[in-house]
């Protein structure tokens, strides 16, 4: 992958030039416009960031460039030029020669974009065999070298592994090595770090910058995350509803955004220095809930199961102690597999545990002791409202369930209470008659939050409630949570992987890793000298966006 490009290396012709390109999809209810009159240029050696929220059309543009459009796509006007050649004029066999060789792609989630039944080596070397006519042996040797350049310690060993035998970061390195393998003119990166853990994502980003320096490849870097794009891109384009609303050098766009949408996006990026949360309860306030030495062992088997197919158990949580005071918001931070969601399940009464959970003046020592009163007082909001709201129930039924179950208000006052709950989560009262699929992602999450608060809880556990939402929606959901806290005085355990966000909301932050509680600190001490090394690594991996750094 070292060395210059064979084709289109002159500085005049851009590697990619999209001009006046429009795309729509035919649907039973008429065409839906995905891209409108898009202009975009990637010059040689440049990284062009394309930023937009879900449904903005950013992925449609990637598929159009790779000529991988669904059958109902209608291309209207415009040109897609790769080093001056219009890709729209190319036949399918010609496109097959271009894909993987002249344009390649790095995907969002390496755990789904790699074939689970093939060794990593075969998946990497097949592009070399296909496009460079190498023999299997040559291709494997070349693959090993390519993998070594992505920073994998034992590339030969990695080539013989299957995807499930590699970590997320290792898999994404294989995908990146595959994309670079044929030294293409352009690489499209589609949210390459979104599915990875914070620290791994940071390493992949560093790898990207290193490879970019070494090879001066041209890249189209698609992301929803402005902060992240500011760290890799030279030029950035912001796309909204299929239109490029602003485009320019990265630093300039971040410093002086001209478009309102860009400004709104920038404002929505969590800034740890900007406090949103409620007033901190006095430090001498007694604990509302305190978990002491909670341990969860996954994979316990029946006696017969142990005989036939013994599997090792693993500890989802190990001797974890967490405390939440009345009216407080405690952040629980960790990467996937850290045990933070396990703790959420334990505290909401969904998972058996060893240890003690003290709530108010009562002690609970295992799942079976968790009773109705506890379940009313502790509510949970899940990450995916799509999965946690019954698709066949109207919002009215969804919200009336807790009201009935815990007998919160008399029957005749239910309708009135539902209207008030909707108002509290800033949804119009007529939403009571809607079904979940008639709501947007953010609206669904508001309904889920309203359901949790309907039980008039003393503690609400929020398990990654903003993770599946767009940046601008994330901010408003976080704000909503805080305003509900202010109105009701409910305490909150906010489980998240987003350190910048949680620093805006939480009074105290607990950090978990591999099922253990690594660190617990007051928000003022986040950058203090006595922080655990792991906490420091996490903080370092998510610097605040460029515009806020100053």
């Amino acid at each position: 992958m070292a060395g210059g490009n064979a084709r289109g290396a002159d500085s005049v012709t851009p590697v990619l030039e999209v001009s006046g390109y429009s795309l729509s999809y035919a649907t039973p209810s008429g065409p839906v416009h995905a891209l409108k009159n898009v202009d975009l240029r990637v010059t040689h050696g440049q990284t062009h960031g394309l930023v937009g929220e879900s449904g903005s059309g950013k992925s449609s543009l990637a598929w159009a460039i790779l000529r991988y459009l669904p059958e109902n796509a209608i291309e209207n006007d415009g040109r897609l030029l790769l080093s001056g050649e219009n890709l729209r004029d190319r036949t399918h066999p010609q496109i097959l020669e271009i894909r993987g060789r002249r344009i390649s792609m790095v995907f969002q989630d390496p755990s789904t974009s790699l074939n689970p039944a093939m060794r990593l080596g075969e998946q990497l070397s097949e592009v070399l065999i296909r496009h460079r006519g190498l023999s299997l042996q040559e291709a494997l040797e070349e693959s090993e070298a390519a993998l070594a350049r992505t920073g994998i310690a034992k590339p030969g060993d990695m080539l013989r592994r299957y995807p499930h035998e590699a970590s997320g970061g290792e898999k994404q390195r294989v995908v990146i090595a595959t994309a670079f393998a044929c030294n293409p003119e352009l690489i499209v990166f589609d949210e390459p770090t979104t599915a990875l853990d914070i620290i791994t994502a940071q390493q992949i980003l560093e790898l990207f910058n290193q490879l970019q320096d070494e090879t001066s490849i041209s890249a189209l870097y698609i992301s929803h995350d402005l902060g992240l794009v500011s760290r890799v891109a030279d030029v950035v384009s912001v796309i909204n509803s299929g239109e490029i609303v602003e485009s320019g050098p990265c630093a300039e766009v971040f410093r002086t955004p001209r478009n309102d949408y860009t400004k709104a996006l920038l404002d929505a990026v969590p800034n740890p220095k900007q406090w949103l949360g409620v007033k901190e309860p006095p430090s001498e306030a007694p604990a509302l809930m305190s978990a002491k030495g909670v341990t969860v062992e996954y994979g316990r088997q029946s006696l017969l199961g142990q005989l036939l197919a013994p599997k090792p158990t693993h500890l989802g949580a190990q001797e974890v102690s967490i405390e939440v005071r009345k009216g407080e918001l405690v952040g629980l931070v960790g990467e996937s597999g850290s045990g933070k969601s396990t703790m959420g399940k334990v505290l909401s009464g969904l998972q058996d545990f060893d240890g003690v959970v003290r709530f108010g003046d009562r002690d609970f020592a295992r799942l079976a002791q968790i009773d109705r009163a506890y379940r009313r007082a502790v509510q949970i909001v899940f990450q995916h409202p799509d999965a946690s709201l019954n698709p066949r129930q109207r919002v009215r039924e969804i919200l009336s369930r807790p009201l009935k179950l815990y007998d919160i208000v008399p029957r005749e006052q239910r309708a009135e209470r539902i209207a008030r709950l909707l108002e509290q989560v800033r949804l119009p009262p007529e939403f009571a008659d809607r079904l979940p699929h008639q709501l947007s992602g953010g609206e669904k999450q508001r309904v889920a939050i309203a359901r949790a608060f309907a039980a008039e809880p003393e503690l609400v556990i929020c398990d990654e409630i903003t993770a599946s939402l767009d940046v601008s929606v994330q901010a408003s959901v976080a704000e909503l949570l805080v305003s509900l806290q202010r109105q009701t005085g409910t305490a909150c355990l906010f489980i998240t992987h987003d350190l910048n966000l949680v620093r805006q909301l939480a009074h105290r932050i607990c950090v978990m890793q591999h099922g253990r509680l690594m660190d617990a600190f007051h928000r003022d001490d986040a950058e203090g000298p006595d922080r655990n090394p792991y906490t420091r690594a996490l903080l370092k991996a998510v610097p605040p966006p460029a515009s806020q750094a100053a």
Partner: protein, 316 residues
Amino acid sequence: MTLGYLVRRLLAVILVLFVVTFAVFAITMILPGNAAVMILGEYGTEEAVAAMERRLGLDRPWYIQYLDWIGGILRGDLGQSLRLSLPVADVVGDAFWNSASLAVTSLVSVTVIAIPLGVLAAIKRGTVADLVIGIFSYIGASMPEFVTATLLLIFLAGPALGLFPAGGFVSPGESLGGFSSHVVLPAATLGLILTAHISRQVRSEMSEVLSSDYIRAARLKGLRERRVIRRHALPNSLAPAVAVISLDIGYLLGGIIVVEEIFAWPGLGRLLIYALENRDLPVIQAITLVLATVYALSNLLSDIVIAILDPRVRYA
């Protein structure tokens, strides 16, 4: 594949078979009228029955009888048929090989036809080919085998065409041509439902795999469609299909009883019906045990094949 995985699966099979022997034995003990009554008929005197029980060892405690029976099985001695006056092992053994020749013929042709058909339907999803395969599958899956058998007999073995014999059996060792012409109709009867079932299964698995991220990734590497289908898609969609095929073997073992009776095929199915009609307990026990063993072993085989196709299973 790890050795440990194989050993564990094998232990599981042995455990299952042990439970089966126990169940078979218990059922024959619970059935009204023991072997002595059956041999002597309903009108045997009490003294005669008691004498016969002593002769057959039926007056011993049940666990002694069970251990005696199990010991016999392990030595290959399944006892004496009550009606045919022949060793059970010989009677059941001959029938087993006859049935096996039918079942294997059927299963192999089903696999060879159904998998490509399912793959084709998935690739050509939404086209005429997919529709035709779909309709054929619905009809195939909804016809019971006695209907299929009757239709096949009328059209292909009837006086009009007379392409195949209406029934009977020629062993493959004797005449391969004779075996082939006799096996076509019963194998087709057994195979039709399975073909429909398996091809639909393969189609749905394949469709799902074809819409997965890693197939998209493979296509975006510029790979030719043939390699995408054969190397990337097929192994992933076959593993679930193999699981279904092994479940279908259970169906096949049931279907064989009906089909053998219709086509006068001298296999386990016919023998089982004969033994049931004549209350030939040792034969019933032996056949049940053989069927259970075949089923358990075919499941083991499918687990091994799945582990080869899907590396994630090997260490599970």
